[in-house]
């Protein structure tokens, strides 16, 4: 089934540790995104990539980095985790060349707790 795979599903992480959240899609979408979801705040864009080799900052990029070495993978790295990064992280993709007519496809999310 075509879609987005995120790993891990959940993680408890000690503050100060480094962590990479993985995201892989098999739909050959050009654009990929990372969102964090916090209660009452909705989905906020962390970083995005419109095509392999390019990335950009979203609304809340501080403390996060991304890379886009190929079309399928878009990992999100927390260099030194802090408790305020406790959240549910969603990876999403869209066929931006079609103007996102088909909307975004979301992964199932990673629930991260930083203690």
């Amino acid at each position: 089934i075509a879609g987005i795979t995120q790993a891990p599903t959940s993680q408890i992480l000690a503050a100060g540790r480094r962590m990479t959240l993985r995201c892989t899609q098999d739909m050959r979408h050009n654009a990929m995104y990372w969102y964090r979801q916090d209660l009452g705040l909705g989905l906020r864009l962390i970083h995005y990539s419109n095509t392999a080799g390019t990335t950009g900052k979203g609304e809340v990029p501080d403390g996060y980095s991304v890379s886009r070495a190929n079309t399928d993978d878009f990992p999100l790295t927390l260099a030194s985790a802090v408790p305020s990064q406790t959240s549910v992280y969603f990876c999403a993709s869209s066929d931006s060349l079609r103007g996102s007519i088909d909307g975004y496809t979301f992964g199932s999310g990673t629930r991260l707790t930083v203690v």
Binding site: N50, Y104, G109
Partner: protein, 112 residues
């Protein structure tokens, strides 16, 4: 840049109607609507690309007023399966194509 949704929460009986509103302070290229069930990922419902456009999805439809930078989602004769949190997402005119800013969501609960 985040659009504003209202109301924050709606409680309905099965068969009742509801309207969820989404407004932006920026000129819009498009508006998306998504539904998220508890513990699951958001699921795309529809996109509105042109001012005045109305689209339908079963008994769920939406309109887009480009001039007012607003969109509304209409849920008619609600079913138990409509329960969830509804998010609008906006793409700003002139911005990077496809970049979506989501509202904070409207929690819809449908009771039998």
């Amino acid at each position: 840049q985040q659009p504003v949704q209202s109301p924050q929460a709606v409680i309905l009986r099965e068969g009742e109607d509801a309207v969820i509103n989404c407004s932006s302070s920026k000129a819009l290229y498009s508006v998306h609507w998504y539904r998220q069930k508890h513990g699951e990922a958001p699921v795309f419902l529809m996109i509105l690309l042109k001012g005045g456009e109305q689209k339908g999805h079963d008994k769920i439809s939406a309109s887009f007023n480009e001039k007012k930078q607003q969109s509304s989602l209409y849920l008619t004769a609600s079913q138990l399966s409509y329960s969830g949190t509804y998010f609008c997402g906006t793409v700003h005119r002139g911005s990077t194509l496809g970049r979506l800013y989501f509202g904070r969501g409207t929690q819809l609960t449908v009771w039998p």
